[in-house]
Every structure is written in C-alpha cells, then in structure tokens.
Symmetry: C2
Subunit: 518 residues, 2 copies
Amino acid sequence: MAAPQAAYEELLARWREVHVLDSCGGLLAWDQETFMPTGGGPHRAEQLALLAGLKHARQTDPVIGRLLSEAERGDVVADPDSAAAANVREIRRLFERSSRVPVSLQQELARTSSRAREAWKEARAASRFGTFRPWLERLLDLKRREAEAVGTGEDSYDALLDEYEPGATARQLTELFRPLRAAAVGLVRRIRDSGRTPDVGILRRSYPPQRQEAFARRALAAIGFDLDRGRLDTTAHPFCSQIGPGDVRLTTRYSPHDLALAFFGVLHEGGHGLYDQGLRPDAYGTPVGMPCSTGVHESQSLLWENHVGRSRGFWRHFYGAAREAFPEALGGVARDAFYAAINRVEPSLIRIEADEVTYDLHVFLRFDLERDLLSGALAPADLPAAWNERMHRDLGLRPPDDARGCLQDIHWSLGAIGYFPTYTLGHVYAAQLFHQAGRELGDLDAAFARGEFRPLREWLQERVHRDGARRPPAALVERITGKPPGPEDRIAHLERRYGELYGLSPGSAADEGGAPVS
Amino acid sequence: MAAPQAAYEELLARWREVHVLDSCGGLLAWDQETFMPTGGGPHRAEQLALLAGLKHARQTDPVIGRLLSEAERGDVVADPDSAAAANVREIRRLFERSSRVPVSLQQELARTSSRAREAWKEARAASRFGTFRPWLERLLDLKRREAEAVGTGEDSYDALLDEYEPGATARQLTELFRPLRAAAVGLVRRIRDSGRTPDVGILRRSYPPQRQEAFARRALAAIGFDLDRGRLDTTAHPFCSQIGPGDVRLTTRYSPHDLALAFFGVLHEGGHGLYDQGLRPDAYGTPVGMPCSTGVHESQSLLWENHVGRSRGFWRHFYGAAREAFPEALGGVARDAFYAAINRVEPSLIRIEADEVTYDLHVFLRFDLERDLLSGALAPADLPAAWNERMHRDLGLRPPDDARGCLQDIHWSLGAIGYFPTYTLGHVYAAQLFHQAGRELGDLDAAFARGEFRPLREWLQERVHRDGARRPPAALVERITGKPPGPEDRIAHLERRYGELYGLSPGSAADEGGAPVS
C-alpha cells in the first residue's frame, strides 16, 4: 500500500505546482486591472497566454492521470469522507475536464480575453459598444468551442457553468430562480406601494475619498481582514484576488459623492477576502485548501456586505465612527435615517450599486441573455437593444447609454460565461448560512452592536473556509445547515428586513408571479 | 538552405518565449518591491522559483541546441555583421552558459534571493546585520556553486561578472579603475582645498513629496519618457524594470526635506527607462531587441542623470519651473547657487545619494569587498567592520549604523555579485558617448537650455538602443566613439565640470595615487 500513498503525495505536489503557476497569472491579471500602463496590454496578453499554456500542460500531464489511477487503487481513498479521498475525487474531475480542452484553445482564450478586457475598458469609457462587439463575438466563439470540448451537462451553457459552480445546471437554476424572482418583484411592488421613500440624498453628500478609504480600512480591520496579508487598491471594477496564502488583494472605487458605493463594495470584497484568508495555508493548491465554488465565494462576500454590513446592529456599533469620519455629511443625520437610506429599495441601472432586493433581477437578466448569446439565439450586435428592452421590462428603466447598460460589467470581457448566476446562488447560500449561524451563535445583531464579529468569522472559517473544495457546494451547504440550498431563507430574510423597514404587511410573494415591476 | 532559415526562425520564436516567461517573473519581482503585502513573501519565493525552473528548462532545452547547430550551418550567419549572425552568436553564448547551471541550483537561487530580499528589508529597517547575515552566507554559497558550474573566466568572480557585463574581467576592471580612483581622490582633495563650499541647505528645505512627484513627472516627459508605456512608483530602493515592450516601470523615493534624492533618482531611472523604451519592440526577446549589458544600461541612466540633469543648460531651462513648483524653498535662490548645490562634492555615506565625483569610490569599495566575500577571504560576519574601516579609509567617514553601511544596497540580497562595477563602467561609457554625441550634434548644453532633449535622445536611440545586444558592450562603445572604453573622457568631464565650479587649476590626477581622501 506504499505505492498509492506515494502516488497520492506526488499528485498533491504536482497539483500544488499547477496552482502556484496559476497564481503567477493571477498577479498578472491583478496588475492589469490596477497598475499596468495602457501600452502594456499586448505583451500582457502574450504573458497570460504563455502561462495558460504552461498551466494547461502541467494540469493535463499524463503523469497526473497515472498518479490518479495509482492513488485511486489504494487505502488513500478507502474512507470516502476523508480529505484524501476528496482531493483525489476533485483532482480527477478537474483533470478530466481540462484534458478535454486543447491547449491551443486554452491559450487562445487567455490571449483573447486579456486583449478583450482592454477593448472593454475603452468601450466602456467611451460608451461605444462597437469597440467591444468584435471581441465579444470572438470570445463567444471560443467559449462555444470550449463547451463543445468539455462536453458535459445538458448543453453548452451547463458545460461552462460547471467551471464556476460544479454540479449546477441551467435547468436547476431556472427552478431556483423562479420563486426568488417572484419574491423580488412582489417586494419591489409592495415597497413602492408603501409610500415610504427613505432619503438617500444623505449618502450623496460630500464624502472625501481619502476619508472613505480610512473608514473602509477601519471596517475591514473590525471584521477581521488582515491587511498585513492583503491589500486594498482602486480599480474601475472592484474585485478580490488571492495571489497566494498570505496575499489576498481587494479593490474598490471611490466616488466623492457616494458613501455606499465604496463602503459596501469594500465589505463585499472583504467577505471574499476573509474566505481566502480563512483557507488552510498548509493545503494551498490542493482541493481541500482551495475555494469550493464561485457561488460559495459569493456567499461569503454577500453575507458580510448585506447580512452584516446592512444590519441595524452593525451600524449601532459603527455609526459613531461614520459620523466622526464625515461630520459635515452625517452630523445631523439620525442613525435610523441612515439605516433606511443604505437599505432603500429602488430599481437602478447598475448591478453593483443595486439594493439587496432588486439585485437578483440584474442577475436574471444576464443569466438569460448570456444563454441566448451562447446558443446564438441573440446576436452580439443585438445585445444593447435586448439589454435595454429587458431592463425596461424588469426594472422599469432605460439605460441612457451602453456604459450604464450592457457594457457595465467586466465578466463577459474575461470570457466568464456562467458566472453571473453564482451571485444569486451566493445570496441563497448566504441567507441559509447566516440563518444557521444565528441558530448556533445566538443573537448576531446584538453581537454586531457590541462590535463583536469574531464569533461569526470563526464560525464561517470553521464550517465553510476550512473545508475548501472538500465537497461540492450543495453538499457543503446541506452539511452545515441540514438542508439542501433553497430559496426559503433568502426570501424570509428579505421579508423580515424590508417588511420591518417599509412597514409592509406580510405578503405572499408567490402571488405576484413574474410580472414586470414597472 | 531553407532548413537553417527555418531553424533560425524557430529558434527566435522559442527564445522569445523564454523572455516572455522571464518577464512574468519580472512583474512578480517588481510587485514584491512595490505593492506585495509582507505576508506574501513565502509564496512569492515559491512563484519565482517555479518560474525560474520553467525558464531554465526552456532556455536549456536540447531543442535549442539542435536549432542553433542547424542555424549555424547556413546562410543565416554568412555575414558575421548581420543581425541574424549576432542573434545566433548571442543565443549560443547564453545557451551554453545556462546549460552549465543545474536547474535545481537556479530554482534554489530564485527562492533564496526572494526570501533574502525580505530579510534584507527587515534587517535594513532595524539596522540589524545579524538578520541578513545567514541569508548572505546562503547566497554566497549558492553563487559560488553557480560560478563553479559556469566555469568561465579566470576565477569565480569573472564567471559571475560575465552575467552583467559579457566579456569583462576583474583584471581589466582593476586596470580601468586605477586611474579613475586616482582622479576621484585627487579631485576630492583639490575641491576640499579650494575652500568653496556651496550651500546644500537650500536642497534640504521643505519639498512636499506630491509636488516633487509632479515636478519629476514633468522632467520625465521633457526628456521623452512615455508614461503611457510606463509607470513611476515609490519604493525603498529605486529601480527600473522592463516588464515588456510598452511597459517600463520606474520607482523612486521621496524625502520631504530633500529635493535632490528623488529628482536625480527619477532622472537616473528615467535614463534606464529611455533605453528600454528605445529598444526595438519587434525584436523583443531576441538579442538584438534586448539590452546590451548592465554597464551599457547604467551608462544611459548616468548620462541622463549627470551629463544632462546636472548640467547648466538643463537648469537654464528648468529652473523657472522648479521655482514655480517650490516657491517657498527656491524663491530667493539664484540659479548659480542652485547649480552649485546640486553639484556639491562631499564624501557621504550613501552610494545612491553620492555626488558624481565620490560615487566611484563607493563602487570600488563594493567591488573589492564582494570579491573577498566570494573568495572567502572575508567572512560575512566580518563584513560590517570591513565596510566601516574601508569607508573611513576612502571617504573619511564612519557609518553610525549598518543601515547606512553595509545594509544600504539591495544588490547582494538579490544574489547580484558582480553588478556594482557596472556602475563605474556606466560612468565611463556615458562620458565617452556623451562626448561623441556633442561632437556630432553640436552644443548640447545650449540645446538643453532651449528645452531640446530630443536630438540627444534620438541619437542615443539610433546608436545605442536600436542595436540591443547585437555586439558586446566594448565593441558597441568602440563602434560609436571610435575608441575602446577608457577612463579619459570620464576624467576630462569631471575635471571640466568641477574645475569650473570650484575654480581649480588644472591638475594631474595621476599624481595623487590611491591615497585616502580623509
């Protein structure tokens, strides 16, 4: 039995190397968004393509296949619930998946998406979809070829979705999203009918970016993000990137007349960052030391942004500090008015600025459009019109330009098709996990009011982070909460928070169907 | 004859890939100095070690050897003065050199120097040599093994020096340095005896870093450094790094009470940057598109820093802008007094802050000590005492701590043994090139006074930059100036500039011998 054990150990060492290599590309991608001069674009694409090719070669090396077969034969996998068995299963899955994609395609995807990202930036800055369109066409073509090569799932979309959320299918998501859509649409209508319109003007006063940054760093420190093992920078499109254990980088963007944009953005990325910092550093590069899925990652960011950061308890603790940081803007504002403003529900154009209720509607729109783009039912040239039509139907708004329409998100320029639905999955997981945490830890809102975030962070670290990708996302959530992922806790959370804030009588969301909210 | 041509083209493509891979490590190293959080150190070392191993494997791939042999047989190299012949020669040289070094050693060097750099930062911040000593010992051991593996030159030192300055030997340098040392020592003594002591206090007034940065960027733009194809950031130890064509990054450091430190630092790194931006982008990664040598690189930085930036003409053009940028500090200061201050000659502790005359004495000290460290004649434990003793003997100063003594430079922590003498080679090349440029372009000082830097930049680009590593450094200099590198132009430059400034009667530097200056 020594051979399988030795094979397993070599397998882990090699797999770890794949991730170290991948993390070099991670830094290059981070740099492209933060500090790379514009002239560096073409060379960066070459660098990323080369690294993608090297990574692919190592990841699909036939030696990995042999080591897997060897490890699968022995005691290593005898206990299917052991970390070792999970590592072998997950490496097998990833090895099979990547082995089906030709290296040339992988490199072409890396090269094209790096160039497309620069084209997207330019297109978005000028609000000129035509600049981005040929790149989107090229990327869709490459992604179709990738899906065909992978060949799993019911259709092309499932094959791509699987990269972000192993095991998920468009069919399942459609099922899950139906009641969520109905709940959101219903809530938006009841909120509108409540006649209450919290004054969000108080969030649009003068908030000097330097003080915003200092305040955001204070909040990051309070929730436990370690800035000696991470960074916070400024980018057009906020994100979190784990370069390696001990190096987790967040970005945000500051507007001098908007407090919420950067602050909740930082809490969101900080939630991602806590996940990455909570992974087991000794298991880095092996499945049990890597994130479970994009949806689980989003659950951590959304949990800290919304369940924590938009709670009454959080601001009972932090509002004094906010007033000290921004005395001119908030000096005369009562805490309840501030709480109402940060939780104001109102259809808007930009996903990352959307409130907690309408957010999912932005996701559903993208989920539907990207499936049509991939299948060819929607031509890229028709995307702006389709986007604007759908925005009008679902949110009652018409984007005045493509920068605030179909060019607002970076994802498609990265070739990330199948990513958007994981935001809603994140909402679903977050609500379910937060509900369970409350059952086990007691009154969390009261803890936040005392500035106590550690119990929740440690609970998440122990239950979620430390497990890495040991099991598929749905199994992880079920193991922790005792039930498979479902819409109930999310809907209950929204009903509770917004029912209370807007004085709504309990409503049955299902009644509302999928009717437009405008 | 088709086969050799095809082999040559494949050779170039593969060699280019080696450089693209190397440039990924370049970005990682740049990031380590600029933005990496402290917690990222160990993972960064793993990343750099992995990339070093991959680079080494590609650079020493037997296929390269076969392609070289094939290319060497055909018409490709028929004209020994052609770019193709130069490419083949240089790739052969580098292939042979790297093939002699085991990949494990290369990786160990990358890993250890990345860790050593972090240890050095810590040691320097605390001025505690003991923190750095074990890393220096480890690095010296690895560098000895590298030199032994390379096995060229008269001794270990030559084998390492050759990496920075192909073809140079310690024996040649010792010859070249003797008259330079005598000239510097003599000048320092005559300057001291002149009784003139320009007031450098005017450079130590309040210079707000933000305005320093704006002023430095203005100067960079004026000399022609393109900030759309580059960056300027802040680091403890200033440097220039070419990430790729279109992406050349400079760093500097600002002191709120020192104008000269950052400004001349930026011009210095800007000179490096102009070289990198002047290389042929279409030949990137092949010898004719890469820098010739470290000495030639330093010649470009020192030329712009000293021959241009410390000239009377430069400040006839720029002094008005300087006064506008710093009205409180410079409002009442005459231009001549400012010129005298920025060219004040006075022994000092820190190499990168040294004046143009005493600078070489700092180099000679390091050149001698690093040879002794490598040979074992000097134990690392005895370095601080040896350093301080030599500083006292050559410059009349005793460092108050190791941070201002043997811990001041980053080089040894990078494993860069044999780098320091290239600074003096740079001075020598710079003086010779600048003298020749003046003969061909006419009165450069008058051109600078009119704000005209383009003729000089274009002359350098055409003569120096566009040739890349097409010929060895000495041959490049001889081709441009009509004579091999020698000390004469450098000594003549110093005599002219400082003779005029300090009102010295023409002196014979050789008389002064190597006597101490204190």
